[in-house]
């Protein structure tokens, strides 16, 4: 296992995740529900899950969330995005590792999106001391399926290409 190349790939993935997340903020989503976004940064998370350890995956997610929060001057969203990001990363990792025969990456991505949004709503409920969940749940579920499908399809194709061309051969 080539450690230097592995570290380099991790750094590249972190940078890509940050870039994608920042660019995504420019795209306006007309749905007035707190926390609904495309989540394209999850493509990187899934690539990491497919080729790296859980520890590396969580590192990438953590750094991405923190840097994006700082750069977009949205430090206040950090508890939300961090909880959602880390939790969904863990769940997606578990699904990929143990239930790959049941769920394709698309399904894993959808579940990841649901977990991410659900975690954010729960944190919002705790902070606002209001039970906001039930009201936003249907829109959240539908948008999670749509964004999860989009992100998942892209991730799936990317992972397949990486495997086919053996790009990460030296670090697996």
């Amino acid at each position: 296992m080539n450690k230097k190349k592995r570290d380099a790939i991790i750094i590249i993935l972190i940078c890509n995740a940050i870039l994608i997340s920042l660019l995504e903020l420019i795209i306006p989503i007309p749905i007035p529900v707190p926390g609904v976004k495309l989540g394209l940064g999850n493509i990187i998370t899934i690539i990491a899950i497919a080729f790296l350890d859980l520890k590396d995956v969580l590192t990438i997610v953590l750094l991405r969330c923190v840097v994006v929060a700082v750069l977009s001057k949205g430090i206040t969203v950090l508890p939300f995005s961090l909880t959602g990001g880390l939790l969904s990363a863990v769940i997606m990792w578990l699904l990929y590792k143990y239930l790959s025969r049941v769920f394709s990456i698309k399904g894993i991505s959808i579940i990841g999106a649901i977990t991410h949004n659900l975690a954010q709503l729960i944190v919002a409920s705790l902070i606002l001391r209001e039970i906001v969940i039930l009201y936003y749940l249907p829109i959240l579920l539908i948008s999670a399926v749509i964004t999860g499908l989009i992100t998942g399809t892209i991730s799936e194709l990317t992972v397949r290409e990486i495997k086919k061309r053996d790009i990460f051969a030296e670090i697996i």
Binding site: I110, I111, L141
Partner: protein, 128 residues
């Protein structure tokens, strides 16, 4: 090698979510009583700021919130909304008019929530 586009788990997942979402939407529209009495409850950090009876409101009323994030709420007869806010997301403003019991708009940065309660909901049980 399994080359299907969707695996069995995916299909079950999408179908059950579609059903769940449909059930929730029906519940949210049908289950809402056609209350004649509409009361708007405005809270910040979980504590009550204003309570307005929207039915009795004959003239539109502007409510100004200046704690931290400046926001303006507009209450009219039968409806209420965030009309202006200094928050970055504008989710609260984008939510638009709240017109029936159960409708709500939240602003997470300012921790302000506008909620419409009808006859059956008890106003004082929302902080826990």
């Amino acid at each position: 090698m399994n080359t299907r586009i969707f695996k069995i788990g995916d299909k079950i997942l999408i179908v059950s979510i579609a059903i769940l979402a449909a059930v929730f939407m029906v519940w949210n529209t049908v289950g809402v009583s056609t209350d004649k009495k509409l009361t708007a409850v405005i809270t910040q950090n979980g504590s009550l700021i204003r309570q307005i009876n929207l039915n009795d409101l004959n003239n539109p009323e502007y409510i100004y919130l200046n704690e931290g994030i400046n926001q303006v709420i507009l209450a009219e007869k039968g409806r209420i909304r965030f009309i202006e806010s200094d928050c970055p997301n504008q989710t609260c403003v984008k939510t638009g008019w709240l017109t029936k019991s159960g409708d709500r708009a939240v602003c997470i940065p300012s921790q302000v929530v506008i909620k419409i309660v009808g006859d059956n909901e008890q106003v004082d049980i929302f902080a826990y």
